[in-house]
Each structure stands twice: as structure tokens, then as C-alpha cells.
């Protein structure tokens, strides 16, 4: 695990290429409420969990259980009322904390709605430029990020974002976050409304980022993709942690998913019905085929 000392020597705004070592995350008793006219509505209640550097966590739970709020609090867009978010072991009182927060990338649900520049290149360059990077470095980061998401700059950099397809826009928005070299990537329902082909591409991108060591926190309703991509899960129910840790398909764990409006992943259910150990179910069709042939 890389602690705060690991980056202590770096200038706060030192850019990192996508794939630099991942950041560890820990939430300790994080609570947050939305202010409403009549009474505050609690969205997170004493949320505690840990995610190791380079780990991958599926954030699941019914609609309205607090998933999006948690991502925004981790990114620092909302300050917790109580409790703390630790990044690489550092808390809000540490001088490096603001710099660490900038290494957390948050991709909103339907991020394509936030594209605004007149070329794909300028849209992706917006974040790095705001960080005050030299233009040569911005260009390199933009080109790399466009390549990573499968929008080669030679073909796409000068296109108008609105002239791209929905799937291309979604990937462009992801490139805008990746250009800043996040060490912890937070994704809020990234697969919603994507066609299956674009979903496969995005899964491939996330697998490569994961292999490069980036820490992934993926909020999703899609249990099959969560199972394919994430080593652990965190289930929220009404703003509280209902379960945190490795996937558990013992009888108790099974009930837990269903009780939170979720279900078992397809391959887990298949393994159960084939009389095999669901805990050792394959993550992908290719793995399943290998086990069955």
C-alpha cells in the first residue's frame, strides 16, 4: 500500500499518466444529509469501508440508497457532516489532501451531458488546463486518454462532441477524467443506456485500467458486470452499509443481495443450479466455457 509519504516528494500538481499506481481509500463513519425545507434528509449514515490501492469495488444497492452521494463525498464535492474520507491514508487535515482529491476521478451518470467544448480535444484538455499543466503535457495527456478510450486522436480529436454517437460521447467524457491521470476512478452507473457493443468496449477499458493498477469504485445496478469487473462489493441500504467485503454466495450472502433489490450474477446462479460451488463461479462467458468443456 502506498501511504501519503509515497507522493510526499511530488509537487501537488504533478500529472500522472493513466495507470500510475492506484490510491487506497477508507471511509470512516461518513454521514451526510441533504438540506430540505422541512428537515434534513439523511443520505449516508456512518458509512465505513476500506478499498486497497489497485482494488476494485462494486457499489450496489437499491435506487436512492446513497450510491451517488457517496461518490460525490469521496471526490470532495460534498463535505461529510461527520466522519472522514482517507485517501492514501491522508485525511482532510493533511496538507496534501487537496492534491490527493484531484487524483480522484469521478465520471457522472450520463457524463456526455456535460460535454461543452467545440472539439473533442478541447473537451478532454479542459481539466488538465485548469490544473495549469504546460500545453505540451496537456497535449500528451489528451492524446493518451483518447487512445485509451478507443477514440484515436487522428480521427476524433477535431470532431465536435455533439457530432459523436452516444457511446462515443460517453467514452469522450471518460477520457476527460482519465486525462488527469486519476489513481482512484469513481464511476456512477457507467453502463446505463449503452448498447451491448459499447458496453463490451467500456468493460475492456476498465479491465485495462484495473490491470494498470488504478483503483476502481463502480456504482452499478448491473450485477453481471459488477461480478465480471470487481473483486469486492459494498451494498448500501438507506444510506447504511449492509455488506462490505468479498462477494459471498453462501446462503446468508444470497439472501442479502435479494433483500436489497439485487440478484445473483448469471454465472453464480448457473453454478448453483449445476450443483457446483457458487463461490467459485466464473466471471465471464469465456471462463465459464473453459470450466464446462
Amino acid at each position: 500500500m502506498s501511504g501519503p509519504e509515497a507522493i510526499a516528494g511530488a509537487a501537488p500538481d504533478t500529472p500522472r499518466a493513466p495507470g500510475a499506481a492506484g490510491m487506497s481509500l477508507a471511509c470512516g463513519d461518513v454521514s451526510f444529509s441533504y438540506e430540505e425545507a422541512r428537515a434534513p434528509i439523511p443520505a449516508l449514515r456512518d458509512v465505513s469501508f476500506e478499498l486497497r490501492a489497485g482494488g476494485s469495488l462494486a457499489l450496489m444497492g437499491a435506487s436512492g440508497s446513497g450510491k451517488s452521494t457517496l461518490l460525490q463525498v469521496i471526490r470532495g464535492l460534498d463535505a461529510p457532516e461527520s466522519g472522514a474520507v482517507l485517501l492514501d491514508g491522508a485525511g482532510p487535515a493533511d496538507t496534501l489532501y487537496a492534491a490527493l482529491q484531484r487524483e480522484v476521478g469521478l465520471v457522472f451518470q450520463a457524463p456526455e451531458l456535460q460535454l461543452f467544448a467545440s472539439t473533442a480535444r478541447d473537451d478532454v484538455a479542459f481539466g488538465p488546463r485548469r490544473l495549469g499543466w504546460p500545453e505540451a503535457q496537456v497535449t500528451a495527456a489528451v492524446n493518451t486518454a483518447l487512445d485509451v478510450v478507443g477514440l484515436p486522436p487522428a480521427r476524433f480529436a477535431e470532431r465536435h462532441p455533439y457530432a459523436l454517437s452516444g457511446g462515443e460521447q460517453r467514452r469522450l467524457a471518460l477520457a476527460g477524467v482519465l486525462a488527469m491521470g486519476p489513481r482512484l476512478l469513481l464511476l456512477d452507473e457507467p453502463f446505463v443506456s449503452l448498447d451491448p457493443g459499447t458496453r463490451r468496449q467500456l468493460v475492456g477499458i476498465l479491465e485495462r485500467l484495473k490491470a494498470a493498477g488504478v483503483t476502481l469504485l463502480l456504482a452499478t445496478h448491473d450485477v453481471d458486470l459488477a461480478w465480471a469487473l470487481c473483486d469486492e462489493l459494498l451494498v448500501l441500504g438507506e444510506g447504511r452499509v449492509v455488506a462490505a467485503g468479498p462477494w459471498d454466495f453462501s446462503t446468508a450472502g444470497d439472501r442479502l443481495l435479494a433483500a436489497n433489490r439485487l440478484r445473483d450474477p448469471f454465472f453464480v446462479e448457473l453454478w448453483r443450479r449445476l450443483g457446483r460451488d457458487p463461490q467459485r463461479a466464473p466471471r465471464t462467458a469465456a471462463e465459464a466455457a473453459e470450466a464446462l468443456s
Binding site: A62, S165, G166, S193, P196
Partner: protein
């Protein structure tokens, strides 16, 4: 399944339909044909940008076609302003995001909203709303504020509001995309019941397993029909499926992966049960 096609009314009769967005270089819909009969369930699939949502808006009378040889919905001509106004009574459209479709302070007011706009007598509205709340299992939530509902409850409330006005065609544009698995099941069950009551249903989806059991699947590619037939026929043509940016239901993907490993299953299973049968038969 629908009864013999010739005995039921042709509710959607569309041929050579074109639509282009202002300033766009190409048609969003190009020479599209679509016929749907009473009681038929037609699933519409296609890559992002293939024209699915545009089609939903046109069928609901919310946009004017650029051109068409024939564009009849419940006998109303979508090419004319009067026809488009009339069609909004017969064709209900439900969109993906329930947040954008709930307007009132509580569930029962939301379900009543469309009827009030049509100036139904209050007593009739009350009866119809009670019917809808019972139908969609929302009776206990009738006074609940929409923002306190789960995603599935919100989408069922929106669906109840759309259906409260007696409809002949229901167009659903990815109605389960934003829902958790339980909410998705709730909406699918509600839609299946409506199909049983004789509505024609046009069901747009990116979830391939939701197309299994449809009377017909129509796949769009750049605004035109690339496939029309049963789900099995579409998924059996894997080259076409890939070209269209689609996929197979999980059971089918596994069958393909097994075939790559040299183990061919009998037929192409599309559901868990079919897969288990095929695996059993193959051992």
C-alpha cells in the same frame, strides 16, 4: 402470443418513414417500415444512435416525420398536425428516466394528471385512478411524494399515469434502464400484463434478455430495419449481431464461447432454463 395476425387490427402501419434532425448530415430514420398489430409485443433493438428513441417520439406524435409513404397509428396520419394531436390520445409513451415524467405532489395526483388535462369528470377520474393504483400495486403508496419512491415504484407510477388514459399502443423507451433488478422485474411484469389485455407494445431496449419472448424483434441500423423476425433468428446470426453493436443474452454468449472451445450445444439457448436443458442434453 398474439392470435393469428390476420384477425387482429393493424394498429401501426408505417412504410418509408424518414426523419432528420435540424442541421444533421444524415437521416435519423431512413425508409423505415414497421407494422404492429393489436396485442403484439415488438422489441426494438439497435446501437446507440440507430434511431430507436427518435422512432418512439414519432410514434407518439411528438415529432413530425420528414416524409413517409404511409404513417398511420391507430388510423391517425402522423404526417398531419391533426393526426399527431389525435394519436397522443391512443399512443402512450414511457421514457427511460422516471424522474422526468412525474409532475405532481403525490402518486395518485400523478396518475390523475393526464385525465385532468383531458377534463374527465372528477368521479370518473377517481374511479380510474383507483383502478390503476390497484393494477400496478401502488394503493398503499397513493399519498407518497414521488421523490420518496424507489426507481421501480416511480416507473410504475409513470406507467400507471400513461395507461390511465385508455390506450391502444404503448411505446416504452428503455423503461428499465435506470432501475435496480427488482424494479426492473416489477416493470416487466406490469408490461407483460398489459400485453395480455390486448395493447400493442413497442418495447425499446438495450437488454438482450428482455427481447426473448417478444412476438417480433426489429433491429435498427442507421435508422433503417436491419432485421425483423423472432429473437432466436436474430441471435443465431452472430455476425449480424456484432455488426449491429448488439450482444446475446448471457446464456447465448456462453453457448458461443462453448462452441469456440469445440463443444456445440443443441440449438441456441437464450435463457438459463434453455441453457441448463442444452447442457444436460449435451452431456
Amino acid at each position: 402470443m398474439s392470435s393469428s395476425p390476420d384477425e387482429t387490427a393493424l394498429l401501426l402501419d408505417i412504410s418509408g418513414l424518414h426523419y432528420r434532425y435540424a442541421g444533421a448530415q444524415a437521416d435519423a430514420l431512413a425508409d423505415l417500415d414497421l407494422t404492429v398489430r393489436e396485442g403484439e409485443f415488438v422489441a426494438v433493438v439497435g446501437a446507440n444512435g440507430s434511431g430507436k428513441s427518435t422512432l418512439a417520439r414519432l410514434l407518439g406524435g411528438l415529432e413530425k416525420p420528414a416524409a413517409a409513404r404511409r404513417a398511420l397509428a391507430c388510423g391517425h396520419d402522423l404526417l398531419g398536425e391533426d393526426g399527431r394531436m389525435a394519436v397522443r390520445r391512443d399512443v402512450g409513451v414511457l421514457f427511460q428516466n422516471p424522474e422526468n415524467q412525474l409532475v405532481a405532489q403525490c402518486v395518485e395526483d400523478d396518475v390523475a394528471f393526464g385525465l385532468e388535462n383531458l377534463a374527465w369528470p372528477a368521479a370518473d377520474i377517481g374511479r380510474r385512478v383507483d383502478e390503476m393504483l390497484a393494477h400496478f400495486g401502488l394503493e398503499e403508496l397513493r399519498r407518497r411524494e414521488p421523490h420518496l419512491l424507489s426507481g421501480g415504484q416511480k416507473q410504475r407510477t409513470a406507467l400507471a399515469g400513461v395507461i390511465a388514459i385508455p390506450r391502444r399502443i404503448l411505446v416504452l423507451d428503455e423503461p428499465t434502464a435506470m432501475l435496480d433488478p427488482a424494479g426492473r422485474d416489477e416493470v416487466l411484469i406490469a408490461v407483460r400484463e398489459l400485453r395480455g389485455e390486448g395493447l400493442a407494445i413497442v418495447y425499446i431496449t438495450q437488454e438482450m434478455d428482455e427481447t426473448v419472448g417478444a412476438d417480433r424483434v426489429v433491429a435498427l441500423e442507421r435508422g433503417t430495419e436491419a432485421y425483423a423476425g423472432d429473437a432466436g433468428g436474430l441471435f443465431a446470426d452472430t455476425a449480424l449481431v456484432r455488426r449491429l453493436g448488439l450482444g446475446l443474452p448471457a446464456a447465448g454468449e456462453l453457448a458461443l464461447a462453448l462452441a469456440e472451445q469445440g463443444r456445440d450445444l443443441p440449438g441456441l439457448p437464450l435463457t438459463m432454463d434453455e441453457l441448463l436443458d442444452a447442457l444436460g442434453a449435451a452431456t
